[in-house]
Subunit: 168 residues, 2 copies
């Protein structure tokens, strides 16, 4: 017995986005109640050259989407990276989750050792699908999801780790 | 074909700690070069009631260790949570990695549907080992590893996402 590449990625991302969506709503409520401008949350950074809250959600979305595309070989959906509000971020999350839910559970079967190509700014890397999912896609997703959480926490939004983990 | 619970946890944690160790060394170098007190890194927080850098490493260590203990049913090792320096944190990481490397790859075989009990401050939760690893241990590990990274980034340590992801 064991788990499939699908099980360690797609449903994990869906739950992560459900939790992120709830966290963003707590951010919205906090902003409303404390008189904080929504823009202060959206443009929050921990250091000047870092991606803001909008970028963190966009990168989490891309990571999840491309894992399904590269490993499951399903057709991609276009996302414009034009979000400018919490409503936009919620719509981005909803679109990503709808896409992930459309990925057939069998699409990744037998793909563990298939080669995946990943182009970054300055290199092309090749992984087996297994190494790509476990060593890149999943950690990269959690990296951006946790950073989104950390940005809201830094701004004072009353959230705790159980909001991040949710209830599996 | 698929992956085992061992593959999605123990080697993932080991690589995560290797990356954290390298990130902490970049923090040490930055502190030395910029005249920052090491304590400023160790006690960094994003919000007053949040765990500091020391706590993030301790919790990442506990999460990885207890996943091996609960799922692999190996004997635990005691860790005192008495770290007060970067050297101590590196020793904690080294001890955790040595423990993880001692976990037999077969220890989690056939344990996917075994029940795991998790006691938190105010509740007792029961998971299958599969749900526990994918829905709690792995996200909780990345949560604390990313937060450790974020704290150093917040303090100005010149690190980037590739330091966090490493080279799988």
């Amino acid at each position: 017995m064991s788990v499939t590449l699908y099980q360690v990625s797609v449903p994990v991302f869906i739950r992560g986005f459900d939790n992120l969506s709830a966290i963003l709503e707590k951010g919205r409520r906090f902003a409303t109640e404390s008189g904080l401008d929504e823009k202060d949350l959206l443009e929050a950074r921990l250091f000047p050259d870092m991606g803001n809250l909008i970028a963190q959600i966009q990168r989490a979305s891309d990571t999840a989407k491309f894992a399904a595309v590269r490993v499951g070989q399903v057709e991609s959906v276009s996302m414009e990276d034009d979000e400018t509000s919490l409503d936009d971020l919620q719509a981005r999350i909803a679109k990503t989750v709808a896409f992930l839910k459309s990925v057939p559970e069998t699409s990744m079967d037998g793909r563990d050792d298939a080669m995946v190509e990943l182009k970054t700014r300055d290199s092309v890397r090749h992984f087996t699908a297994r190494d790509y999912v476990l060593g890149f896609a999943v950690p990269n997703f959690y990296f951006h999801a946790t950073t989104a959480y950390a940005l809201l926490r830094h701004k004072g939004v009353p959230i705790g780790k159980l909001d991040f983990l949710g209830r599996p």
